[in-house]
Symmetry: C2
Subunit: 178 residues, 2 copies
């Protein structure tokens, strides 16, 4: 991450990353398919965490509440302490098309996994897909706002705020004139 931020993603070699981490190149490739994967190391764990949270949500909760609560839980246990890391990672990703592609694929995979987890709870389609897609959409917006924010607001705060704004937006509410 430090090397990517300093030298740029393209001009950082796997050998350099491995050296910095005290690994041989061979060991590096045992852990990561390629140098892009380093930045997406946590994606599998995040997906497991979110799917687990959906599975144990109260059965009385509406699908969107289930998703939003899972995202808030992940924010609290995974992200809040790591805004500086998230900020640097985000800057590297948006500067590189290939990384952005992979980020989008990971988010789409996450949306599919969440839709599946809702279906497992008996939520019919298209509600399951729509709730999962809406959740990932509002998470993207909330995450960007959190990363851009210079204050002390939490990611959980932005997720809850984006969720109620998403509700107002899809209900056809007009924003207050500037």
């Amino acid at each position: 991450m430090e090397l990517y931020a300093k030298r740029g993603f393209e001009s950082t070699a796997v050998a350099d990353i491995a050296e910095r981490a005290g690994l041989t190149e061979r060991t590096f490739y045992r852990h990561f398919a390629d140098k892009r994967e380093v930045l997406f190391y946590g994606a599998g764990a995040l997906q497991e965490f979110l799917v687990g949270a959906v599975e144990k949500a109260p059965s009385s909760s509406a699908p969107i509440e289930v998703i939003v609560s899972a995202l808030v839980e992940a924010a609290t246990s995974v992200f809040e302490e790591r805004r500086e890391f998230a900020r640097r990672r985000q800057a590297i990703i948006v500067a590189n098309v290939e990384l952005l592609e992979r980020e989008l694929v990971k988010l789409a995979t996450l949306a599919s996994a969440l839709a599946d987890a809702l279906r497992q709870r008996g939520v019919p389609d298209p509600v399951a897909s729509l709730a999962a897609e809406a959740g990932i959409s509002l998470f993207k917006v909330a995450f960007q706002r959190w990363v851009d924010d210079s204050g002390k607001k939490t990611l959980a705060h932005f997720i809850r705020e984006s969720s109620s704004q998403m509700k107002a937006v899809t209900a056809g509410r007009r924003p207050a004139p500037r």
Copy 2:
């Protein structure tokens, strides 16, 4: 498209595509950056169409109405006559990770362009981003349902239906038990 459907995307060479289209390979590369691009030929035109529709929407419309109307307009003028084509294209894309990546990038680019077009109309953030993201999310769900549907329902029908379902979902409505 026919060649991709018959032989699979990986084993179709640019030379074959060019031959089928009555072009030399050199002419092919003048029109397309690579063989993936053939499948995304219409993406730029679609984006222009949608942004144009957003620009000329009545100023009294709520942001989500502006987006949904633009999508319905595109459905009517671009997609309705081409379900068979859309179905074959979709089958090729979901079977290939690289194509799926590019499809996701195109959709994300479309969401950004629509958010920009809303900002141009004076819609503040995060409303502009949320309306555009919600619009693309419901379009993805509607498009898949239209492609999968064996009946005669239009894409416009599925977009309007997904839009009102999205509203119910984000409002926290619980789906009827199965």
